[in-house]
Amino acid sequence: MNSGDTAWVLISAGLVLLMTPGLAFFYGGMVRRKNVLSVLMQCFIIMCVLTIQWVLVGYSLSFAPSEGFWGGLRWLGLRGVGFEPYADYAGTIPHQAFMVFQGMFAVITPALIIGAFAERMKFSAFLVFTLLWATFVYDPLCNWVWGMGGWLRNMGALDFAGGTVVHINAGIAALVTAIVLGKRTNLDKNVPTPHNMPFVVLGTALLWFGWFGFNAGSALAANGLAVNAFVVTHTAAAAAGLSWALIEWMRNGKPTIFGVCSGAVAGLVAITPAAGFVSVIPAIIIGLLVSVFCFIAVTVIKPLFGYDDSLDAFGVHCVGGIWGALATGLFASKLVNPAGADGAFFGNPKQFLVQLLTVGVTIVYTGVVTLVIYKAVDLFIGVRVDEKSEVMGLDLTQHRERAYTVLE
């Protein structure tokens, strides 16, 4: 056991946890004033509920050696998960350190979907949906890509910190959600504007900071690979933020802070699967291009198809994640990570195909199961609030709380 590695992984777990409140403010600032608490509440309740789900069953389902579909319940309630390292995953840190680090990923992934159904989902339905989604979509997919004996892992899929497991996964669920729930009422007459842009910026800052734990922590050791992940994560975010600002400057006349923040987040998403496999120049390319793809997804494709992905969870996380996963298949190099593989640009085009397959499997599995869960929840509880509640705002109607006072 290595104390430096353990310290780094524990800190990283804390950093990743911080990303969920960061996301809460990132999304919270984007919604209308009357709904900000509902977004914060959804994020925080996930932190509570999914933490418990994770330690009771989630970790076992996700990371116990695969029984085919998932890991099964051999580690129910963390039975058998102690403080000696579990070498198959991380040989130099206590097993529970790995568990709690991964738990933070399980918490933030469903929180990403909030961006798709913001401002119109019933709280009770949201709770049930999230619990079912975590258990039947996140946990199996996690097992396939990262679990010992997971079939995508065995096929050689490269996903360093969660491009597929987290971002494409949540992104597709977001798209399905947005379509199933339908558009917010009066969208064309009452174009929603972010009610608190400083929150969005603050949220972005917390996300960027926390992402160092997300990516560099996924090296599971305080070593050169972690440093590589740190450096390329930071660089990709920077390139993508700049790229989005430039695109806006050229297309809309002025660069906006919202654009830089969106770009930075897109860059962080895209570098996530690649962070432990690519070097800094590819990171810049990945960052510069992700903003192009996500910008198109958000400003061209979304209006064209008309789905109301309120806060662009699909446009940024799914599109960014897909680009990142495929870019990993292009730019991965064993010079960076000997335990990884070479990508297409380094003489191994097969890797690109493996990545493509992984992306495809994720899209299909997540899309279908998310839809099934939605239909089931809708049947028994009803997922969308009634129109009057939506107009009044979720803070008042779902939580009987108001975020801001007027006089004092």
Binding site: V391, M392, G393, L396, R400, V406, E408
Partner: protein, 113 residues
Amino acid sequence: MKLVIAIIQPYKLEEVKEELYKADVNLITVSEVLGHGRQKGVTEVYRGAKENGNLLRKVRLEIAVNDDYLEPTIKAIIKGAKTEETGDGKIFVLDLKECVRIRTEERGNTAIG
């Protein structure tokens, strides 16, 4: 010329605006206020969480109209805002002595609409 001041439920603003546009009333000022009626804010925790002093969030509209637009404006506001529950709001009508369009310095009835 009249000045119409209406206090309405905040969530009714969009509907009231729609009705006003339909009545060809397009000039409007909107502000956020606090207030309560005879119930002193007690019955309305669902539609508007209470502020200090039992005051609830309301929206105030101010619309300057020519005399022949007064009734249509009042009817439009009622149509958009009425729910038959307490807290629907009130409309006040004041005599308006003068109205000036700053850009062109027009006065009177032409400045109003």
